[in-house]
Symmetry: C2
Amino acid sequence: MSASSINLAVIPGDGIGPEVIAEAVKVLEKAVAAEGVDLKQTHYKLGAQHWLETGETLPDEVLADLRTRDAILFGAVGAAPGDTRIPSGIIEREMLLKLRFSLDHFVNLRPSRLYGTVGSPLANPGAIDFIVVREGTEGPYVGNGGTLRGGTPHEVATEVSLNTAHGVERVVRDAFRRASDRPRKHVTLVHKHNVLVYAGHLWKRTVEAVAREFPEVTHDYLHIDAATIFMVTDPSRFDVIVTDNLFGDILTDLAAAITGGIGLAASGNINMDRTAPSMFEPVHGSAPDIAGQQKADPTAAILSAVLLLDHLGYTTAARKIEAAVVADVESRTGEPRSTAAIGDAIAAAL
Amino acid sequence: MSASSINLAVIPGDGIGPEVIAEAVKVLEKAVAAEGVDLKQTHYKLGAQHWLETGETLPDEVLADLRTRDAILFGAVGAAPGDTRIPSGIIEREMLLKLRFSLDHFVNLRPSRLYGTVGSPLANPGAIDFIVVREGTEGPYVGNGGTLRGGTPHEVATEVSLNTAHGVERVVRDAFRRASDRPRKHVTLVHKHNVLVYAGHLWKRTVEAVAREFPEVTHDYLHIDAATIFMVTDPSRFDVIVTDNLFGDILTDLAAAITGGIGLAASGNINMDRTAPSMFEPVHGSAPDIAGQQKADPTAAILSAVLLLDHLGYTTAARKIEAAVVADVESRTGEPRSTAAIGDAIAAAL
Ligand SMILES: CC(C)[C@H](C(=O)O)[C@@H](O)C(=O)O
Ligand SMILES: CC(C)[C@H](C(=O)O)[C@@H](O)C(=O)O
């Protein structure tokens, strides 16, 4: 990474991925050009469609090549729900999760904010502005499990959640660091330690220990079930949530829903040690039902580009895009616009 | 169990448990008396307070005694959040979960219904009327995990989710049976099979197989993250949800929240094979902050008694209580009433 150029990997993916990524790149290019920064792009063909054509998920050479980039902008992957040609979950696991795990994206950062006029399904949402710091490299997502006597009446299937002091501590410290930079300076640990004792206690003890390094940050704890209740009854109570890979997956979709939908929800899969490029992607999926129709909202992809710029230190460009997005979102009337029209409007407002 | 008497175990528990259970028993007694049924009660002192006094969670003799009853009415257990005298989660695991597992409560039944005027936090909730059939005896709740090098920087903590063909099939079949008795006849499996492959595929395959026994019932599938989105954007789409122990825990708290809160959410821990008594309890906890103040809403406990009567076959009494509850709930104005006043009103309306 140099101050005057960004070496960007672009993975548009499947479904609406290419459409929303085109708008994110359009906005990104314009914003960094204004700062005298050159955006060098390398596009990678990966995803369900690519698998159908080649049988490849994420070849080693492609992974090695991706490692040479400064950051990755990712659209969405996944086949149409009914498509039986693709073994279920193979693209998610052997490509998306493989990227997160291989590139050590231990901070899965998902901000949630309710913009002025955007429709929340909640009657009284209040002022919603929190971030979820979801662990991204361990927990129930490690793929560690098995099947005994599969397909028989005596089948046993297991899933093992692996949690390490190393993995928990680094993400908890990241959450406290982010909280300490925010006005409310509050961290909420979400887990289920009354049932998941071993993992739960590691998380609880780690939060207690790391909290001592951040005397200015307050913290509390919620079980995952209680957290979903507060998400719909009092979401403004949250500032920074830190949680494991699976609980974070669940909470961030719910958080996206209450802040106007996954058309707006951005995320970063961040390697805070910078030993490999981080990856930025909308929370939404490939939505094959509306693909190619210019119906998808590119805002989540554009906000993911904002997180990318922040991570690379281009904060001026990041704030400019963010301001343009907020202005656009707050002026929405419900009148449908094409994917490109939204991207054009945001780019024009830069 | 005889047609003319019910041999009931009552576990009031901690916090608001005794208050809400008193009202449930009041209503239950009156409803069955009208049918000429005698309610024989045996009260058991168990819970956090009992543990503080005796160090006992659930002694073997008590468990054996409970097995001789027709059904168990359970209030709530749990210490005040700040109470450090009680090892975290010990009452939940060694008493509540021990009851569910020992008595083979494989169907954790949690109905969700939005009553006319009851305040949902959703702006447009629509007509909500679904049941969640949560697996109650396996999954991530089995307590199978461990800690290696605890308290060191090299700690590894695991949690193992155990899923068996036996366990999954019986609860899936129960869900289809219940769906086939409902007008919409639809089952939604909720899991995360794209990531939790082994357990997820067992659940998926089992649903496909059992569905063939119920040609009149339709079914679909949602990932847990997507299910939480629909829970707040389109909850009326659900009819019968079947899911594992942990996803069911999360979804049912969220379901309670969108239907007016856990003051109304009832549940049954049901052994459908009737090899041991089933247990009925409000979804809410012991709420120590409002305990002893007659502030708790006994409706969830009373609706749990309705599920108890249905399970034992006293459907006339069950429907009468249910009608009285619905009338009471739909006439609520927001004016606060004491726990006993609500119980009295419902009993009087029988
Ligand atoms: C596609 C899937 C593997 C992924 C996840 O579960 O992490 C998605 O739901 C997300 O939240 O990014
Ligand atoms: C208290 C706890 C163990 C319990 C659970 O997780 O099942 C509760 O949350 C519930 O839903 O009944």
